[in-house]
């Protein structure tokens, strides 16, 4: 884990094509800055099957968005001086992306994989009409389509995502749309070429709850209709629970827990996941007298704590005989398809869970 990062500053190609639709192996993305190297993503691996949804959860600065940008190939100046250093493998439908050239990735982007960004007001161009912005991506990948056909396609898409009067709306600018509408237009833009992988980076954070519910429903419906795989990135565990089949919990650029959604919520194994679940006031449960926050602050990605990055905030770090402070925990299996990176011995962990955590969940 530790020494591989020094050797792999450049792209690594090799290994065999995996069977799953999307496979990310030991992805690292480091940004050199004046203050030191920011290890935004430091060894993330996951698989995603066709038609499934993966939820990536974590606090701000845990590397969620950098992971998604890496898959989309949206980091600039990779491999150049002062540019981000990436390593690992990303296999999308049998094609490796990190070693692939910019042009190759460009052909896939918008076609095979597409992204919904957090804030549609900044992600859309204020000068062009919504229609023009949808058409641009469509015609890029379908050069044979004439203007009329492309426009019809855009109208059809706007209609599909539930925008009323799509034939009028197509000629309006983003500022004429409300927040929810804009997010719908963004989704229409992402769907322009019927992508098989859709990455939604905090798709509902900027929206009100009522609109959020509409958008989540829309994403779910579209996924069923088109059978695409979805990665949803968020800090809201409620949103993840609504959509995801599998969940990956990130902390300090690493994956600390990974498993099926129902397991993560019913039998979480990592103290950080316990903390996240415990610190949330929940509308579906008895009112707690007091919330149980995760103490302290998120770590700096330049100077991660030694050993387990979570140990300074972990209330159980003293029960690992000092291992937490010295050694980085490995992801180990704790159940079917369920992995957690924690030094707490299994018996201790289960004891803490049944005695302290489970009653609060």
């Amino acid at each position: 884990m530790t020494d591989s990062q020094t050797s792999t500053t450049e792209t690594t190609v090799g290994g065999t094509a995996p069977t799953s639709f999307l496979s990310v192996r030991d992805l690292r993305c480091h940004f050199p800055t004046d203050d030191g190297v920011v290890k935004s993503v430091d060894g993330i691996s996951f698989e995603l099957e066709r038609g499934k949804t993966l939820g990536i959860v974590g606090e701000s600065g845990s590397g969620k968005s950098v992971t998604s940008l890496s898959i989309m190939g949206l980091h600039r100046n990779v491999g150049k001086k002062n540019g981000p250093r990436m390593s690992g493998e990303i296999w999308l439908d049998g094609q490796e992306l990190i070693g692939a050239g910019r042009e190759e990735v460009r052909k896939l982007r918008g076609q095979k994989m597409a992204m919904i960004f957090q804030d549609p007001l900044t992600a859309m161009h204020p000068y062009y009409t919504v229609g023009q912005q949808i058409i641009e991506g469509y015609r890029q990948h379908n050069p044979q389509a004439n203007k009329k056909a492309a426009r019809d396609h855009a109208i059809q898409l706007l209609d599909r995502v539930g925008i009323p009067q799509p034939d009028k709306r197509v000629d309006q600018h983003p500022h004429e749309f409300s927040g929810g509408m804009r997010q719908r237009a963004m989704i229409a833009m992402a769907l322009a070429n019927n992508p098989s992988l859709l990455i939604a980076d905090e798709p509902t954070t900027a929206l009100d709850v009522t609109v959020q519910a509409q958008i989540l429903d829309l994403i779910r419906d579209l996924q069923q209709e088109f059978g695409s795989s979805v990665i949803i990135i968020t800090h809201d565990l409620g949103v993840v629970a609504e959509l995801a089949d599998d969940i990956l919990v990130m902390y300090g650029g690493k994956c600390v827990e990974k498993g099926p959604a129902d397991k993560i919520f019913s039998e979480p194994e990592h103290p950080y996941t316990w903390g996240l679940l415990g610190s949330m006031p929940r509308i579906d449960r008895e009112l707690q007298e007091r919330l149980v926050p995760v103490q302290g602050n998120p770590p700096s990605l330049i100077n991660l704590p030694n050993g387990c990055a979570f140990h300074p905030r972990c209330p159980y770090a003293d029960r690992t005989e000092g291992l937490s402070k010295t050694e980085v925990p490995r992801l180990t299996s704790v159940g079917q398809d369920h992995l957690a990176a924690c030094h707490l011995p299994l018996e201790v962990r289960q004891q803490i869970f049944t005695e302290e955590i489970a009653p609060r969940l």
Partner: protein, 439 residues
Amino acid sequence: MSEESSTATATVPAPKAPAASEGEALLQVHDLVKHFPIKKGLLQRQVGAVQAVDGLTFDVRQGETLGVVGESGCGKSTMGRLITRLLEPTSGKITFEGVDISHLSTAKMRPLRRDIQMIFQDPYSSLNPRHTVGTIVGAPFRLQGIKTENGTKAAVQDLLELCGLNPEHYNRYPHEFSGGQRQRIGIARALALRPKMIVADEPVSALDVSIQAQVVNLLDDLQTELGLTYVVIAHDLSVVRHVSDRVAVMYLGKIVEIADRDSLYASPMHPYTNALMSAVPVPDPSRKQEHNRILLTGDVPSPVNPPSGCHFRTRCWKATEKCAEIEPPLVALKTGHQVACHYPENAPTDVIAETITVSKEAGEAVAKAAEAAVAAKAEETAEAAETAEVAEVAAAEEAPADAEPEAAEAAAEESTEAVESTEAAESTEGADAKGETKS
């Protein structure tokens, strides 16, 4: 860093004082209106107005926490700025500790600013990046010209400690702190002059989940320790449930429902509140399949040109013609539970409205309305009964005597138009009961 926060949150785990039902009103707001003019053309003539806040009436009681929820654009932040008098109301009355502050000048407001403070949403933009923490938190002392016993520095350091920050960070700048710590600095500044009331506008929405809980607990501790009264404005219903004693739900410049926390969350009466609650994503994948949520279609209408009658009717699944014509008044359907809707849900089956304080002049009209209700019962139509109810309330609220007979008559007229309704039995009963008590 982690040690500081732990000390803060480890203090006094005492339960929150139940201040919901008792306590005097610290702040009274009556029919508060704020319209922002829209001006156009060379002469800057007013062509319209953004009706951000359109008739709010509520009390904030001593020592309680009033939560205010609603979608963006519903006027909740404007409300916060009005009660702190950062904005001047277009009309209406704000009374703080018995003093009418609605139109006080800046100079006259200044001494009162000690008692009303505000915590802002974004800890990144609400702190001046060029000032040290000491200057920021010490500013209230400087501005109000207050001398403290051991000097301002000592007072500021006490405040920092109270809010779970390291007093030695006196000379640091905001950028050296994380989001949660910055919010603590904002809280320390608000607390500097020992205010009586704090208006917190989305105090935790910019923070990470794990940090949110720290700040929520800190606010809770400070309330117990210093006897503060809070008005917490937020859009997150789970957070509001956790911190509030009473909750007001706003929609397009109006309060549609205001109730004790437990009553509101256990049995929300307004359709909008129901929709809001069902839209909250629940962190429980086993519930994913249930899918019985109420999906509101469309967006909030523009406050420049709000719909007639009930503002919510354009998105409401229960809306009828009546909703377009008559604006539902905010009435108490249960002790401590007011709602503004013609067709409330979860309403108690024996809708005995709280005894409405009726002025002498209004008495007559109420009797008439009650008669109308009885007449309606004879015809066994719900619609009429409900209209009568409305007329009654309207009569009770509009004190001027001339208006009332008209209202009652209108009700009586309408009562003859038998329109079928789903909640026939319930409301007729209710109106009947009321007719008896009143006459």
